[in-house]
Symmetry: C3
Subunit: 205 residues, 3 copies
């Protein structure tokens, strides 16, 4: 009986984490697309990131206190850690916009935010399917989509960097934007890492 | 008999590594707080970093040559690797001050060095307690303190970045200080990683 | 019978990956040393990097679908992931030279490319020896050479940074070169990571 409770507990926590990521991703896109007067959205994003930290810590705690886990221990650890990192990066990119007082996000940041949110939608869908592992094909298709989105984000990053170095003549502005663009793109890389962990879980079962 | 020797060997090495980190952290704070004429301290710090590399390699060697280990193999590997990284980052931050010929460390670097040393004190205390795992509560309390210190360091980093971008008008100076500040703060992040590994070890036992 | 096929498959894939890394490393050195008119070489390098991604994914796929593996699962995963990262970094450094339209690579980039290729030669040699694990001494000697080369690369990086900050007065050029130099040096760090994984495999057997 306890085993089943525990088993469900892990999936409950992963789903709660996926929900926070989706909420955070949407808020990030709103901040990027409606940049003025976003202080309240930023506070809300920090709150979501903090909730995700608590959930992640809860997953680790259960991992160390459960003898038989529903997934391989290292997969549970990787999945929690990488899902948490997505939200860390989103919050970090948003906070830097404010700390650095950037005038407005570039169009490539908006483009990356869009790709990131598409990727997060897939992440949430496949995380919610891991509990039953029934629709393996749907999960593996989701992983392919996430992989394609990561390649797309990489192309946007490269174009953004080329344009930035061509057009931004103020080196300090360049440093600010470069860091924010790279942080946002790294979030899509970590979505692919999450997708790789889930692909491995599915292939093993 | 050999098992016991081996068992003790691991803890001896981890404690030796913790000692080097503490020594390196103190030297780093001295360099930051008394920046002039620190060439000798920097040489000493490089030496300590090199000793830590040797100890870490020794832990890996023993790990690969021991059949029954006193802690899970992946915990031994993570602990050694992350403890070694703390000293790598400390040495890297100190070396960059010299390579980049910075005039003097900012007050935020001094503040981060202070937080880092408080965190290292806790790291050393909990590493020394892992051998007997008797005072679990003390160890878990230490982990909470390290986590709080990491949050504090993150706040200092954010304030430091905001001030740097507001006040430093020379972009080349800004690049130098930004890298040194971020490297120092990353050392406190890795202290938290070490604390997470140890928390996991304690919860499992 | 199937076990043997599978067993060979892993080593075939690792050797194919080592071949791609060697090819990519050589191309990178050619681009650095004969920088003009390298567009075709860059396209070829992107192709090689893409092939390496496919091989890496093939290794993961086989890992998840094989019950008994010829090496520890986590070693197979680390080895594939880190070998793939070497080529990612090489391609990333080369692409940045073009995206950033740098006039010509500095002599330290050429020096790092030379060290990197020496390290890759050792990587390829030891990867090809893992299949039979017969000449353990030769493999461990190769690991020592890779470690020495990484220390050499670190020294070149430090000199390069000092010179860059002394001589490059255009902050935007400095940012470009700094990133390319650091990315190239990180590739030698990852060669050392690969060597550490292989050293672990050999010591365990």
């Amino acid at each position: 009986m306890k085993f089943f409770t525990r088993r469900d507990k892990f999936f409950d926590l992963f789903e709660a984490l996926a929900d926070r990521i989706e909420e955070g991703g949407k808020l990030f896109a709103e901040i990027v697309n409606h940049y003025e007067h976003s202080e309240q959205k930023l506070s809300k994003l920090k709150e979501i990131e903090h909730e995700a930290d608590t959930i992640t810590h809860d997953i680790y705690y259960n991992l160390h206190n459960t003898f038989i886990t529903p997934l391989d221990r290292e997969d549970i650890y990787s999945l929690a850690s990488k899902m948490d990192t997505i939200l860390d990066l989103i919050e970090s990119a948003a906070v830097r916009m404010y700390l650095y007082k950037i005038r407005r996000p570039t169009k490539e940041i908006a483009e990356l935010a869009r790709i990131l949110n598409e990727s997060i939608t897939q992440i949430r869908k496949i995380v919610y399917s891991v509990r039953n592992k029934q629709d393996a094909k749907m999960i593996l298709d989701g992983c392919v989509v996430i992989n394609t989105l990561e390649n797309e984000a990489d192309q946007v990053l490269r174009t953004a960097m080329m344009r930035l170095f061509e057009n931004e003549k103020d080196p300090i502005e360049l440093i600010k934007l470069k860091e924010i663009i790279q942080t946002t793109e790294t979030a899509t890389d970590v979505c692919e890492d999450v997708s790789n962990v889930i692909e491995g879980i599915i292939l093993k079962h």
